[in-house]
Symmetry: C2
Subunit: 344 residues, 2 copies
């Protein structure tokens, strides 16, 4: 059985003042190392504070300062490993800068997205970071109307935002495709994310651009799309496998899609890369432990998260030197063993 929690109120600045026989403002000053307080009294106050387990109330402080030193992070779901990496970077930087982070999952449900943003407003977060948002222009408006800075990270929306950090999708896709082309592939498929999403469009057009510049024509039988998950990646690959001729290589929107596709290939006994090469995008930790290890375009996910937080902190402090509104990171092609030249 469980016993309900009985809480007693925390010690306050006044309690300390009483013990130290000074006014509460002196305590306030001492605790924030104001030079305006006598060293010895300051010393004594700090001693009492630490002995009594005093913890300044951030909520009271926030009320007067109008700054909570708190940010809100909206992700579709933190269970997605991509978001996990990004949030890890955000939290790390936030922690070092003295910010606490509220985390909320939107699940891409507009109704929930709204609730989440409202709660952030009520909490008076100083700023917001939104990662991988799939929701539309309506939501963007909502955020713009809030009177606090918002930084987007790899947003899928076609909307235009003032501040964002994202991967160079086009370039990454081009590099990946060129790698396949260099290996001699000519029947290359693409398994995308939902169509209409910006990042997918950009990767797709990078893919197409690479083909075009080598005079290779698109292999229409192997153009498919999923939703960025393993499950849909597998399903998409299965659809491709029903059509002929089979591609000799497939470029996937992301690693999860690629991992799903690989599992469909394995299930059919099709060897990777001997029969079909597979390339992903992201370089999730799982990519290097797949079998075979997955060739992919690395996104510096943690670093991007950290950068988003830095930009936000810049916006909040006014120190905006060296910060661009829209920052693009370069992907890096990581060649592993899921790609090889096609058999003759």
């Amino acid at each position: 059985m469980l016993r309900p929690h009985t809480s007693s109120k925390p010690v306050s600045i006044k309690d300390i003042a009483r013990i130290a026989n000074v006014s509460h403002s002196t305590v306030s000053r001492a605790l924030r190392n104001s030079p305006l307080v006598h060293p010895s009294t300051a010393e004594q106050i700090r001693k009492i504070a630490s002995e009594s387990g005093y913890r300044a109330s951030a909520v009271a402080r926030s009320l007067v300062n109008r700054r909570t030193h708190t940010i809100g992070v909206v992700v579709t779901t933190i269970a997605d490993p991509f978001n996990g990496e990004v949030v890890s970077g955000i939290e790390d930087k936030a922690n070092h800068l003295g910010y606490s982070v509220f985390l909320a999952n939107s699940k891409s449900e507009p109704e929930r997205e709204l609730r989440v943003v409202h709660s952030f407003e009520e909490r008076r977060v100083d700023g917001i970071i939104v990662t991988s948002s799939r929701v539309g222009a309506h939501y963007a408006d909502l955020l713009e109307r809030m009177n606090i800075p918002v930084v987007f990270l790899n947003n899928h929306n076609p909307g235009n935002f003032a501040y964002s950090v994202s991967i160079d999708d086009g370039n990454g896709a081009r590099e990946a495709t060129n790698h396949l082309l260099d290996l001699g592939h000519t029947r290359i498929g693409y398994i995308g994310d939902e169509f209409g999403l910006r990042s997918n469009e950009n990767r797709l057009s990078g893919f197409r651009g690479a083909l075009r510049s080598r005079g290779v024509k698109e292999h229409a039988e192997a153009m498919e799309s999923g939703d960025g998950s393993c499950a849909e990646g597998a399903a998409a690959m299965e659809r491709i496998l029903k059509r002929t001729p089979l591609p000799t290589a497939v470029f996937c929107y992301n690693d999860q899609t690629a991992l799903g596709a690989m599992s469909a290939l394995h299930a059919r006994g099709i060897r990777i890369p001997e029969e079909i090469s597979v390339v992903g995008f992201d370089d999730l930790p799982a990519a290097s432990y797949a079998s075979p290890p997955l060739t992919t375009v690395r996104q510096p996910m943690e670093q991007m998260g950290r950068r988003a937080m830095e930009i936000l902190a810049g916006l909040l402090s006014g120190e905006t030197a060296g910060i661009e509104g829209v920052e693009k990171f370069d992907g890096e092609l990581i060649v592993r063993r899921s790609t090889a030249s096609p058999k003759k």
Copy 2:
């Protein structure tokens, strides 16, 4: 270039009072649907509030209520997929119960762990959930001393805590081992997590118990340990592969360890499950897309997260009916294709 953010103060209860020509207390009542306010004035007030984009300040409210409706979640790192699933469950439940969640990564660094908990104290979170903590008794004391309820989830510490939800490690390990035994394996290895961690000890003793009850003796050449990561799982497997005789099956502390082990096996050209069977623990999403799909013990991670949040909420509201202090979830053996009978 980026323009620093210029914020104007949000509309307050007083602003609305002025416009509605009532006192701010009436506004406060109206907005919280107090029956003490005349329907028509309430109506008018709500209209003004919504038109002006009013958002009640949770920080002001918290100051008077002494409740922030906020909880703190400490994870080692949110980049770990296990924690991602758990936090997803916590956040989901918290959201429905009207709580916001602060997320912090401890990275298992005691110094950072301390900072994180202190910041939670200052933020006046109503409660704390700690997942997969690896830090020792010292930290546990710190938490116990705080005057707010703490719920642990799968803590690795040998310490004893008032409130916790965890998986039944022993039983899960026993089931997994029995599965291997049923298949006819007699040379079974174990790749653990760091020794000394409670969960590892429990899985290991479940493993040993199962062997013992069938009269199979431990295969000492294949007892190894990593740190719960793919990388160390692979390294541990490589060490095992240097010794003879090889095991015909290996049970791993968790899926990541198993996935790493599988990748080491693949790299050496050893077939799974024909030559060596592999079993994991957790059932991460990646497990079903591994090749071959991984046999593992499923932990209901999201559900455990939700339950931890429920318990915490119960502690906070005093509704403790149907809540045990220490709750154990049962794992479920999921047989996939990474296990088979050993070749004769």
